[in-house]
């Protein structure tokens, strides 16, 4: 017995790495199958790159140019220039980091809260479920954007993590509800009952047996929450209720509309359109990529 | 001579299926579900259609009503219904009128055959209005009579929503809907499968009574040999979308000719007999690969297969006056 055990472990590990490899190969095949998915994937990669390296491409203080105030689109200013003569493209690229990092954190927190609470509610049922679901109903009922706006008066949104945390706190309701109902149906299945019968700990069952089965749903929601988070945070900056500490897309929108008067003076229009374009392209990328993710994780679509 | 002619006219088939082909469109191409079926359903008799799941028996009866759901599609053939015409070629409005009024169907999922948001009584009225029934009060009275006969509290059922009834009750309501417009041809597609043994027996008993009383033509689709033995005058055995054997049930069951029918009969565990004597059918039911092969669909599982069976498909030939079999072993004797 004692001799055989390591062997099995070893065997398992190699099987696992095989599986990993084939999963990535499978994922790649799924992405390249349709051009739309590949475009989505490339857009997401591009924006991730922008978020990580964007600020290093430009000096910390972006150059201003009094002769290029609201400069039209040109080779030097591919997206025009703002009210100080700074390139809009540079602003979009350097502004991506805060927006994307906060959105990623927002998605992570949303998914973490939603998944853990949904799993617990669905697995332990009884009063745990009742309490969690009452809180979920509450979170779902309170209009989240006004809540964010009000919270902005006490919460310092300077750090992307802080922004992400608040986005997560206000946004987990829908996911928790969905994960709960999936967990409830899973816990009645044979293999979970068998695991319970074997006396495995609830934690083990929740995270090793149930979580992988709701994984696809969670992966989809992770991406969807990224778009939701971007809209919410950019919206907060756009409304100007959050103090501007770093340049980002929302700040650009706010300054363009409320300071530069882009709505009535066409020369300031590129300044308004640049961040909008960034948001729309990223959204498009995510929507296109979701299709691939759906096929990767949804067993019903697999192999069809 | 003339006596024989008279006899023939009296037993003109209630439904006459000719050259029927139904396919299911899938990603891997068209999957034939019913293939080249010719079938006469005798009037005023109970015909049992038997076969494993996937043998095409449900598709066949749905095709008789021209109600094959997507992705299924009727490719060719005709279904001549007595007093109606060819269900596959008459105009849509006449087809609609024939459904329910001439052909009543209780289908497999009859528990879910009711609109969950309307009371049963309202749905009876909807049915009456769709078929231009003049006297709706009379229709409700008929519904009550039928429900009472089926052993239910008729007033309560008519005032109920689907979710207020049990599965067995819904199934009986489904039977009521098939009979209420006095359809002369009634098709029960696994209509009692979901019921427990006792309700199944009582529902079948009522079906038998109504069949006699109203002079119905009843088609009983089932995978339960016991039900066929008990109820049917004639039996039609389907395998892989084809009819492999048909004939009077007492003869077919006592002397099955096709090896598949023989297998089915042997697989019935007799309650009185020894369970060890029930022999399960070997092998898996027909699948896509089987359908595409040129030979007999039963070849893979057949205990008496010959080389010829792999090369060509046996056609259904009469072996006696009212019995047909599709098997080289049986038909090639002479």
């Amino acid at each position: 017995m004692s001799m055989r055990l390591p062997k099995t472990v070893l065997h398992n590990r190699s099987a696992k790495s095989n599986y990993r490899q084939s999963f990535w190969a499978f994922a790649w095949q799924t992405i390249v199958k349709k051009p739309g998915r590949l475009i989505g994937f490339i857009i997401i990669l591009l924006f991730t790159f922008m978020g990580i390296f964007g600020p290093y491409l430009y000096p910390a203080q972006l150059p201003i140019n009094p002769n290029a105030i609201y400069a039209p689109i040109s080779w030097q200013y591919p997206l025009g220039a703002d009210f100080e003569g700074t390139s809009n493209l540079a602003l979009v690229i350097t502004g991506a980091r805060y927006v994307l990092f906060a959105a990623a954190m927002g998605a992570v927190f949303t998914v973490a809260f939603g998944t853990i609470l949904g799993l617990c509610a669905g697995y332990f049922i009884g009063w745990t479920d009742s309490v969690i679901m009452r809180i979920t109903d509450f979170i779902l009922t309170i209009p989240s954007f006004p809540l964010l706006v009000v919270l902005s008066t006490v919460w310092n949104f300077g750090q992307p993590v802080a922004m992400g945390f608040v986005l997560g706190i206000t946004g987990w309701g829908g996911l928790a509800r969905a994960v709960r109902s999936q967990t409830m149906s899973l816990r009645e299945r044979g293999f979970i009952e068998a695991a319970r019968g074997l006396g495995l700990s609830p934690l083990y069952i929740l995270f090793r047996e149930i979580l992988p089965n709701v994984g696809s749903y969670i992966a989809m929601n992770l991406l969807l929450s990224v778009t939701g988070s971007i809209y919410a945070e950019v919206g907060l900056f756009f409304l100007g209720v959050v103090p501007f500490q770093v340049n980002n897309w929302g700040v650009m929108l706010n300054l363009a509309v409320f300071s530069a008067g882009a709505m009535s003076s066409p020369q300031a229009l590129p300044y308004l359109l640049s961040p909008m374009l960034a948001i729309l392209i990223l959204t498009l990328g995510i929507v296109l990529f979701l299709d691939a993710l759906d096929e990767m994780f949804n067993p019903r679509l697999r192999g069809v | 001579m003339s006596a024989e002619l008279k006899h023939k006219q009296a037993t003109a088939p209630a439904v006459q299926v000719r050259g029927l082909n139904v396919v299911y469109a899938t990603n891997q191409g068209d999957l034939p579900a019913v293939r080249q079926v010719d079938l006469d359903i005798e009037a005023r008799k109970i015909t049992g259609i038997i076969g494993e799941s996937g043998s095409g028996k449900s598709t066949l009866v749905m095709a008789m009503m021209n109600a094959v759901g997507k992705p299924g599609q009727i490719v060719s053939g005709s279904v001549e219904v007595l007093g109606v015409g060819d269900m596959l070629s008459i105009d849509r409005e006449r087809q609609r009128k024939a459904r329910g009024k001439e052909l009543g169907l209780v289908f497999q999922a009859a528990q879910n055959s009711l609109n969950p948001l309307r009371r049963i009584g309202h749905q009876v009225l909807d049915l009456g209005r769709s078929h231009d029934v003049k006297d709706l009060r009379d229709l409700l009275r008929k519904a009550k009579d039928l429900l009472t006969r089926l052993g239910m509290d008729a007033d309560r059922v008519l005032a109920s929503y689907q979710h207020e009834l049990s599965g067995g009750m819904r199934q009986r309501v489904g039977i009521m809907f098939a009979l209420i417009l006095d359809a002369k041809i009634v098709i029960l597609d696994e209509a009692t499968t979901a019921l427990d043994m006792l309700s199944q027996a009582s529902v079948l008993e009522i079906v038998r009574e109504l069949h006699k009383e109203r002079g119905l033509t009843t088609i009983l689709v089932t995978h339960d040999m016991g039900v066929v033995a008990d109820m049917a005058d004639r039996v039609v055995v389907m395998y892989g979308g084809e009819i492999v054997e048909e004939g009077p049930s007492e003869f077919v069951l006592s002397h099955p000719a096709h090896p598949y029918t023989q297998g089915l009969v042997r697989a019935i565990p007799r309650i009185s007999g020894d369970i060890d004597r029930a022999v399960p059918l070997q092998g898996a039911p027909a699948d896509l690969k089987t359908y595409l092969e040129p030979g007999c669909p039963f070849y893979q599982r057949c205990p008496v297969a010959m080389p010829k069976c792999q090369e060509s498909r046996p056609t259904s030939l009469a072996v006696s006056q009212d019995r047909k079999v599709a098997c080289f072993k049986v038909t090639d004797h002479d």
């Binding site: 009452r134 509450f138 009922t141 309170i142 209009p143 989240s144 954007f145 006004p146 809540l147 706006v149 009000v150 902005s152 008066t153 006490v154 829908g174 778009t227 809209y231 950019v234 919206g235 756009f238 409304l239 100007g240 209720v241 509309v257 709505m263 909008m276 948001i279 729309l280 959204t283 498009l284 929507v287 | 749905m62 009503m65 109600a67 609609r96 009128k97 024939a98 459904r99 329910g100 009024k101 169907l105 999922a109 009859a110 879910n112 055959s113 009711l114 609109n115 969950p116 948001l117 309307r118 009371r119 909807d126 049915l127 209005r129 769709s130 078929h131 929503y161 979710h163 809907f177 098939a178």
Partner: protein, 330 residues
Amino acid sequence: MKIVMIRFVKRLIAGLIMILVVASFTFLLVRLMPGDPVQAKYDQLLLNGLTPIQAMDEVRVMYGFIPHQPLWIQYVHYLSQILHLNLGQSISYEGTPVMRIILGAAPWTIILVLTGTIASFIVGVLAGVIAAIKRNSLAGSAITISGSVLHGIPLFVMALFLAYVLTTIYAILPFGAPYNAALTPGFNGPFLSSLARHALLPVFTYALSSYGGWLLTMKSSVISVLGDDFILASEVRGLKTSTRIGYIAHNAILPLFTILALSIGFMFGGSLFIEDIFDYPGLGNLLVNAINSRDYPLMSGAFLLITVAVIASNIITDFLYSVVDPRIRR
């Protein structure tokens, strides 16, 4: 009917508890805010030469509670003031009761949100039915794509776009006030038409922002109902096409009621953008302005009222749902 009433009462109680929680939240928010605005105001009044008692009275009128007292006494006082529909006084609108300002703004938002919701619901549901039935045709895909695209565009982008196109490039729609200030408010033609013209742009934006969601949900709902056994049964029984379409529509639309509640919350959230961009004087605009001018009593009041409006709409939606779905009545 009794079960519907019990459900309604339960929802009502849950709603009241939610309002209590939100009121407590706004209380704590203002009270525990960095720099404590209540204390700051009190200190400032003392510096301005008021006696401590005068200053205390002033602050109490403004915020609804008194500094220098244990938190829970302030809390009880605050809640009793809310029960008397007193939300304190605004800072930016010099001494005007918050309640009066909010009640002045609320109708604009509520009417606009409701009109927008109803309009988008009707159009979205109809389009969803067509998209589902004709899902294999070009028209069907075109409708579905229109829904996905509109569903994906952020509200503020949509609002800015519409404002730019319809008021700047083609100045066909008015912008700003809810009606032409030169007209006398009342039940007269010119006033009403001015009202409608001014509301058109915001209502259209509200409607457009949720149209896609309705369309996509209705489409998938219809498709799932089309696969239900009872629809096949109704075909096999020879029901008329019109009756069958009625069965399908009735069954497909019910799940949408549960989403209606969430949608209303979303719409009220959207009012912040729409009213800010179109400069329309509703609750959303009020909330944003209150925060930008650090008018905390007004902020708490506006937020509380938005929440109450959402909770009330939820209760009404749920009540309607339990009336139309017999499965709840049991």
